[in-house]
Symmetry: C2
Subunit: 112 residues, 2 copies
């Protein structure tokens, strides 16, 4: 079975995370499960990759963090939630535009 290599997805881990945060704040563990679900189990982000993306994106002001107790339905421990900023939304939209271009370029080199 064909596996997705990290070097390919590399430029889009941040975009995936931001995509999920576009729908509302979330936290690490939940985001990783969502990425798995949305990708139909085809891609699982590594924990270390995920959390280092948070650090990087918070530094870049694409996201903001806040600590909160688990929700009313919530089980588990306290979590660090992340919220996308305006700057983050803009970055996400740029990445979506870039994707269209990138896709076109790569496809010219792919055997169909």
């Amino acid at each position: 079975m064909v596996e997705i290599s990290s070097d390919v997805i590399r430029g889009y881990n941040d975009t995936m995370i931001l995509c999920i945060l576009m729908k509302g704040p979330s936290y690490g563990y939940e985001i990783s499960k969502q990425i798995k679900t949305i990708s139909e189990e085809k891609y699982v982000i590594k924990e270390t990759t995920l959390y280092s993306a948070f650090t990087r994106m918070e530094k870049n002001e694409f996201i903001e963090s806040f600590v909160a107790d688990p929700g009313p339905d919530g089980n588990g421990k306290k979590r660090t939630y992340y919220r996308i900023t305006e700057k983050g939304k803009e970055y996400y939209r740029e990445k979506c535009e870039e994707w269209a271009l990138t896709k076109d370029v790569i496809e010219k080199f792919i055997e169909h």
Copy 2:
């Protein structure tokens, strides 16, 4: 104007090079010009990226090198040509399959 970031294309530089070598042996300078042309000037591979890809892929036995004089029409110096191996062709085809999968995954996270 939207620029393609290297982190995105990263996993596909090797594939692009191999794509060109699928049509027959070629050498660095020529390959870089072809990538530019095929991508309709949208992507230009950096020299250092290109030549380090050659080293890596030769080590992995995806390509073989041989030195030759410029062709009959040829101008310029002696060149190091590269030829794709069977292993390289297989790798190229795998990458093409992987691409289909990767594209599908990423598009689930892209705003259309």
